[in-house]
Symmetry: C2
Subunit: 319 residues, 2 copies
């Protein structure tokens, strides 16, 4: 059945592709089987990460970028990471509706993924979904996140080009978040640039980049700052050109190889931590766990000693 | 030296306490040693998580809560999780300055922690820092996060009482984030309640809670909604009372035991994943890793097979 789905996907069947993404997302064993089989068909797509604080207008911007990419005949995949939860389910995907006008276009494949689930689970699911879209034949894959948490950062920084979208006039907290993402950005976008404070934001970003001059010079790429008003297409074509310029830079400098090496390393880490969690839960007796935890809560044993016992018992690891 | 620091901390020495937190944060081996030694002195502090989207005014709110707690003579600890990065360092802690007026008060201990570093590292560092503050003698420990990423959620949900702070009139993205935190909140705060849209936000939250009626009835606690304007103290005493009410509920219903069991389990998980990462990196040859990764990038081997090889080689685990 997986064989069959893969064959259909490789022939361009969208439903089979959607089904395969669902499988890699939800079923660890099937993910393993699928990735092993499609892997030789991957490595052709270019991955663009779009991130930034809540409310920066990322979805609208992405919608317009898809439009430009389609004009050039590119096959486009989109993975939108949603900070939803099992509690509210899919009810909050309204934001993505802006992109839905592309959903009837056979050259665009949009997929939402929730951040629910275990640590590392999202990173793994996203990289597997990227592989499916890559094998399907996407030329470009956009990964969109609300870039705040470490996991979202971990996901986005495996992209080839990382676009950080911000808006004028955000508060302290947002500044801090932006800063956390600063070092992973290849391109900055000040969206809603018609709003008050756009010049100040530009000035501030520019100054931050000046402070890091040595760093950019060493790397050979100073992140450009693009001002946009996504709703009116202002700046979108410029952003598109800058993305392509960054791609050429990566390819010419050989840095693309470094990025892909990093991505592979991150992927292995995610697979390993998922596997270890699975092994431990399989090899551990519920009752034993309750007893250990009871001792910790009762202050009879400290958590480090309990962890050591579990490691020795389940994996034979002596600490 | 650690023995000495612990002794001084137990006698109320702040510098020794600060030093111990730095050690548990940065040195895995010392964290282990310290936690084992102080563990019998912990378990007395009550942990309050404060979370919510960027710009909700959490720091100001917390500043006022500290003020009220101090009036009642409580010894207060604060761990503020900052979404900063090694790149920008501490330069963005400006937001915390609001709390700094308490920093000369010997009954308040404020500590910032960065989300930099590996997955799970933050959760472990935070729970160890909580233990140090607990052993030091804090009655209350506030943990503040910008609650968006999974790690921040994981940190906050180990608190005894979780306060979710929101503000009127946020966009779609923020709504989604709020939703992701909805299920872990014990108390909702609508801060900046003098702003337009406060009533609509109240109505919306209330409706969401109505939809989950069965859930709250089963649990015996319907999260109250407090309206506040932290800058003017409006609603702060009410929030303080509601926090204490929730605490009494947990203690009376025995739910506090369930929360602490959960916290201990999360802690063991964090310790285990940290230890595994350490073991793997110790037992793996740099060159072997490069070779494996090169094969993945070159599509000669898929990442799952590479992960299996590493697991077998470093931990003797057959997949």
């Amino acid at each position: 059945m997986i064989e069959d789905l893969i064959e259909r996907m490789l022939r361009g069947d969208r439903r089979a592709t959607a089904r395969l993404i669902t499988l890699v997302e939800n079923d660890e064993e099937k993910a393993r089987e699928i990735v092993k089989k499609i892997y030789p068909h991957t490595g052709k797509a270019y991955i663009i990460g779009i991130t930034g604080p809540p409310g920066a207008g990322k979805s609208t911007l992405l919608d317009k970028l898809i439009h430009v990419a389609r004009e050039e005949g590119k096959i486009v995949g989109v993975i939108a990471i949603d900070p939803t939860s099992p509690f509210t389910g899919g009810a909050l995907l309204g934001d993505r509706i802006r992109m839905q006008r592309h959903s009837t276009d056979p050259g665009v494949f949009i997929r939402s993924m929730a951040t629910r689930g275990s640590l590392g689970g999202l990173a793994k699911a996203t990289s597997d979904a990227i592989k499916v879209l890559d094998a399907y034949g996407c030329d470009l894959i956009f990964v969109e996140t609300v870039g705040v948490g470490q996991i979202e950062v971990d996901v986005i920084k495996t992209a080839d080009t990382v676009v950080l979208v911000t808006v004028p006039g955000l508060g302290d907290d947002i500044q801090a978040i932006k800063a956390g993402l600063m070092e992973i950005a290849d391109i900055f976008v000040i969206n809603k640039a018609d709003k008050e404070g756009a010049d100040a934001t530009y000035f501030e970003l520019n100054m931050m980049l000046d402070l890091e001059k040595e760093r950019w010079e060493r790397r050979g790429w100073r992140p450009p700052i693009v001002e946009s008003v996504a709703t009116t297409m202002r700046g979108i074509r410029e952003l598109w050109n800058v993305i392509n310029e960054h791609r050429r830079f990566l390819e010419k400098s050989g840095e693309i190889q470094r990025k892909r090496t990093f991505r592979a390393a991150e992927e292995i880490k995610a697979i390993i931590s998922g596997k270890i969690a699975q092994i431990i839960s399989e090899r551990l007796d519920e009752e034993e766990v309750s007893e250990l935890i009871g001792k910790i809560v009762g202050r009879e044993m400290d958590p480090y000693s309990a962890a050591d016992m579990i490691l020795e018992k389940t994996l034979g690891v002596k600490v």
